[in-house]
Subunit: 141 residues, 6 copies
């Protein structure tokens, strides 16, 4: 039985950030990023959906134990991001603009390898910045 | 860096409509559309998700500024549809049955070109008619 | 055991309406009600929460069977309001402005007596017009 | 007009289950499934999204009448699963581990043929076990 | 500063139950409780809101540390109820009909004393059985 | 007609903050506030519900125009708080711990007077910090 299913685990983290391009002056940052460039930061309750593709195991009925997936997300994403400043506190975001687009790509990069240990592959990352804005990434070029 | 991400903006509009085929008589409309054919209209809080595909810009971290996407949706969708009658008040719905299926295709047609100005392409339209019913459209034939 | 609990049943109906005061001219209606006064109507997915106060019965554990409460809401509220025009199709809204405030009071008036047959009393009506606007009513003066 | 749209109907059912592999002893089941293996069962409010692909009919504007889709889901899924025990009460789950992954595949198998009668095809099944866990299935190998 | 605020913590647990009165025969149970009386159980994702009343402490800004409130709910409610059978596995529900009404009263009884240790008092318990049904309890007669 | 209804308007703002008592040293702050005391801030999508009590006007059916209520919330709450740092950027939060409890009281203080201009009175403020935590305040001692 090699039927492929897609399992998704939701997680959340609360973080501060600002949108600021250090190669631009104050005026240009304000012009492009508006209130998102506030020096003193602002923040969000980010909501993350991690989707993994695999086949249900004959003995467990699991594609991958949701508890294991949850533990991986906790170790690689929640620990470094929750109650943190995305611009200052996260080594793998250094030198990158803290946009949702860039964040979702880097979250993929953190999760791709740990999930390969489970006979499954990472399929999609969805990240909600607000109830009105979210970004999906499916890896690859 | 040519990685493709998919950004989604949610919007809402409140509109009246009815399902009514003018080529059919009263009885046939009632038989096919039931209470949705009520002469005096009914209405919905429609929820719209517009998904755009593109690559994050190196200087902004943006695929496309969500503010620009929101402005396009306001101009081309919310202005003509919000607090309106979908059968009577919307020129580009004239002569079409005001089903969610037809509406989602016409919303695509309104948004496709304006988004092309942004180095991005429209990828998907999702439209919720109620919490239990929604329609997705990805363009093409 | 005379402990009082409050049970709530959620229901939904989709209706058209407009805000229009027939004692005012066109200009005044437009000035006060803005786009809500559109001649051709608009509409909403209304969400209703009906809260009833009573004591759990020793034999059933029920304050009032949720199925009975649901049936009462269907008969007295959903039947007359769902897929209807609140200004034209609902006898008990005739002559009243179809605001959420007035609607919630009239819904109370429809439900108060039928619930008294169940050793319970109506405690509150909450009506959501959109995800951003709702009105509560607790009866009385 | 052969444009393809994807319509989705949401449904819900409340059921009991446990994760238990009869080829394993008590200790092994407890080790693999943890609290999900509780002898006395636990349960969930499952939320199901059924997505059907088709073209809007020229006369109705419908891909497939949502009422028909809802009736099919009621007959083939809600009737056999709602207020039932997934391990004991559902013939087509006998001999299978009652995981969300296996459940979503079997729900597909129940729905695939009835939908073919409507000039449409089943496209996707999404099943939420909790607000944090869900599984998607698109059929095929 | 003796201003009173009401803080609420949300928690969740997944449990099996049935509605069954042992003083009644099979037929009467079926007549009163319908599908909720299924011998083989069914279940729910219960959602619990615990509201505590108190004044913000001058040094912490807290009425009561949400972490402490969360720990109390985990110890006294989630541990005994999550992934359990409400009729069989919960000593303080023995001999009581496992209705939401009775459950909410017993949850109050479990939480009232532990919260008194925090210069606060339990104010309300809300328990959602489904998205359409919930019960509130404020203690007292 | 002097029936009292309670109208609620929902608003949202995204802000950074930290919990930090300047009268305590680093170690004590860490001990009491844990990860919420992170020097570099974290943030939230706050969701605000403002409830106003009044009687429906005979001419408008309104207790108070939701548009006016929305404008007041924008001017007095969203403008000063959205995309801001609650500890640094908000004059009326200076010297106060940026807890949800204190924030909800100060939001009340900002809104109470402007609403009195409308033949209505402020009844309640609810503020969600996350989907699991919220605080209500009804004014008074």
């Amino acid at each position: 039985m090699e039927k492929k299913v897609y399992i998704t685990r939701r997680a959340r983290f609360n973080a501060a950030h600002k949108l600021w391009n250090p190669r631009w002056d104050e005026q240009k940052n304000q012009e492009i990023f508006g209130k998102c460039s506030n020096h003193n930061w602002h923040g969000h309750n980010y909501e993350l959906h991690v989707t993994v593709k695999g086949s249900p195991n004959i003995d467990t009925g699991y594609c991958m134990d949701m508890k294991d997936l949850s533990d991986i997300i906790k170790e690689f994403i929640e620990e470094p991001l929750d109650h943190k400043n995305l611009n200052l506190d996260v080594p793998w975001m250094h030198g990158k603009l803290a946009s949702t687009e860039n964040l979702v790509i880097e979250i993929w990069n953190q999760l791709e390898d740990p999930i390969l240990n489970y006979d499954c592959e990472l399929h999609a990352i969805r990240l909600y910045e607000t109830e009105n804005n979210y970004v999906d990434y499916y890896g690859g070029q």
